[in-house]
């Protein structure tokens, strides 16, 4: 064949008229643009609170753990409670991105990115408490197995070591998951950004062009990471629960702890996603992407896990009674009617009773109610860990060593700081990275379009 005449080639080279950009791109990238006064106020107060908590921590390093409310025999207090709480929050993200991915639940696409980001930030927050809780922070690296002059190795039979490995693996894998999933979206942002953002997204997008080679390796990697992360999600909170279950403390030493903690973690994680995403969706007008359908599905998860958690509460009481072990029975009697009865009833009401209203579709689709409920669940789940840890320790086998622990103001300040720490990262994330997985939303939109046009699909 002969090459086409030169004028035809010239016509081919002529740039095509500029087409409008994808609406999904515009809608989701617009979240990152400009920041209102309200945003800066929120961010500034979060940063301030983090500094206040940091100052408290420095004071604690100077003064010692005596500033916490520890009373013999309770030496695990708010710090450990809050650690377990944040590790629990971290579970929704990987559940949504890994398990729901393997189940091909397409509704996850709207919420997976924000949930994954929350996972990373929640693990990061939880990890701070490992350092805050230890008495001598300058020796905290003793937990790591490294060759040292003492020629000593760590004790791998201790649940605390399992915890170290579980948490650091979880932090690494969830950060990898978040980043790998975001590469295509970073390329979208790179193609549209100017100035320093173009440099940032250009570097982070790694030269992504969406070629078949890129996508093929990417989808396969995401599949494998999901396969690896699925058992990981279920294992992490099980390992955390063994920190307690492996001890002989009444109320702790039970085999139900693994599934009980995992269900609780997913419960609190979904509640946190709802707490954060309901305002985000409202403020940035993302109702078209995060629809009432998504909120309803999340609230179904809340209901399911609430029932599992409620069942676990009931079975704990049953086992305490049925076992005939006096210490166990006393411990559970004390939970409900002893000095910590308020915490126990907050836990039971918020986690097992209030969520039952989700049986009604009217409630599942009523956004303000869902928001309030999700906050209550977060409160309830914090108290659940408080009840398990504190009541167990304060009433051990020997009545002469019983003690009552009350959190000190320093501990509560650091607890508040942890929420600020988490919010600070989330607020920065909102303005720097796409809060909804754009490529995955497009996958759905393009499939739909192809169906409408009657493509061979």
């Amino acid at each position: 064949m002969t090459p086409p005449p030169p004028e035809a080639v010239a016509a081919m080279i002529r740039p095509a008229p500029r087409r409008p950009d994808s609406r999904i791109n515009r809608d989701i990238l617009s979240v990152m643009e400009g920041a209102s006064l309200g945003y800066w106020v929120l961010l500034a107060s979060a940063v301030l609170m983090v500094h206040v908590a940091g100052a408290i921590w420095i004071y604690q390093v100077y003064e010692g753990l005596g500033i916490a409310g520890y009373v013999h025999p309770v030496f695990w207090g708010v710090y450990i409670v809050t650690f377990v709480f944040w590790v629990g929050i971290a579970h929704a993200g990987t559940l949504i991105s890994a398990i729901l991915y393997l189940f091909r639940a397409k509704w996850r696409n709207a919420i997976n990115r924000s949930a994954e980001a929350m996972t990373v930030f929640a693990v990061l927050t939880a990890a701070q408490f490992l350092g805050i809780h230890v008495g001598r922070i300058w020796k905290s690296y003793f937990i790591l197995p490294y060759p040292n002059q003492r020629a000593l190795w760590v004790n791998f039979k201790s649940p605390l070591l399992w915890d170290t490995f579980a948490i650091s693996t979880y932090a690494t894998i969830s950060a990898v998951f978040l980043y790998i999933g975001m590469i295509p979206d970073l390329a979208i942002a790179r193609d549209r950004a100017v100035g320093w953002r173009k440099v940032l997204y250009g570097a982070l997008a790694l030269g992504w062009q969406g070629t078949s080679r890129h996508w093929k390796a990417h989808t396969r990697s995401v599949l494998h990471l999901s396969g690896l992360a699925t058992p990981l999600v279920l294992s992490v909170h099980s390992v955390v629960s063994w920190d307690f279950a492996m001890a002989l403390v009444p109320g702790w030493h039970t085999t139900i702890f693994g599934p009980y903690f995992v269900a609780g973690a997913i419960f609190s994680g979904f509640a946190m996603v709802l707490t954060m995403m309901i305002p985000v969706r409202r403020i940035f007008g993302l109702e078209e992407y995060i629809t009432d359908y998504h909120l309803e599905n999340m609230s179904r998860f809340l209901l399911l896990t609430s029932i599992i958690v409620g069942y676990a509460y009931a079975s704990e009481y049953f086992m305490a009674w049925y076992s005939g072990v006096e210490a166990e029975q006393t411990s559970f009697w004390m939970r409900a009617f002893g000095p910590y009865w308020i915490s126990t009833w907050i836990m039971i009401l918020c986690n097992a009773v209030f969520p039952q209203i989700l049986w009604f579709k009217r409630v599942r689709t009523h956004v303000p109610t869902l928001f309030v409920l999700s906050v209550l669940v977060n409160v309830g789940m914090w108290f659940e860990r408080y009840v398990i840890i504190i009541t167990g320790l304060s009433r051990e086998y020997n009545p002469s060593t019983w003690g009552i622990y009350t959190p000190s103001w320093y501990e509560l300040g650091i607890l508040a700081g942890s929420f600020a720490f988490f919010s600070m990262f989330f607020l920065v994330f909102l303005k720097l990275f796409p809060v909804i997985a754009i490529a995955e939303m497009k996958e759905l939109a393009i499939h739909e379009k192809a169906h409408r046009q009657g493509g061979a699909h």
């Binding site: 090459p3 086409p4 950009d21 791998f156 399992w162 490995f165 693996t169 996508w215 989808t219 396969r220």
Partner: protein, 167 residues
């Protein structure tokens, strides 16, 4: 060599035209998609991605490292703890499991980088931000004499436009 770029709206068109082009012997082609579509990726290369080899190697390395590290450390400086054997398999399984996931995950990322050719400083001439909007592209490198045939093939499968990106 000239490169022609066809722009499409639907993934099935891209899959068809890629299959057709390869059947006609134009194997030097590249597709650009705004989202993952298995039919497009398989039309260009039907072999499953080699990332899986990396995951497997990572996972196996992890489990071996986990057990080897714990057993060796417990025996290197033997301290009797709770009367349990130095080489206690049940607790070490947890470390073995976690390291399987950790190494498997990290090697999957390495696999993504090596198999997918990332990170890369190269930018294709045919690439444009429209492919990170909602359009698809098929770029074909061919001999001068084949330009009009490729052009016809690209248009024949419903290309919105065909352009010569490299003369």
């Amino acid at each position: 060599m000239p490169t022609l770029l066809g722009v499409y709206e639907r993934p099935d068109q891209v899959a068809e035209v890629a299959t057709r082009l390869r059947a006609r012997g134009y194997t030097d082609l590249e597709t650009y998609s705004p989202a993952p579509f298995a039919e497009v990726d398989d039309a260009v290369d039907e072999k499953p991605s080699r990332v899986r080899v990396f995951t497997l190697i990572g996972g196996l390395t992890g489990v071996v490292t986990g057990y080897a590290m714990t057993i060796w450390m417990a025996n290197d400086w033997p301290i009797m703890l709770g009367g349990k054997p130095f080489s206690s398999i049940p607790p070490y399984t947890i470390i073995g499991f976690e390291l399987t996931i950790l190494f498997g995950g990290l090697l999957t990322v390495l696999g993504l980088f090596l198999v997918g050719g990332l990170p890369s400083l190269h930018r294709d001439k045919a690439y444009s931000p429209r492919f990170s909007a909602e359009e698809f592209g098929v770029a074909v490198r061919c001999q001068d004499r084949d330009v009009s045939e490729v052009d016809a093939l690209l248009r024949g499968h419903g290309a919105e436009e065909v352009s010569l990106v490299e003369a």
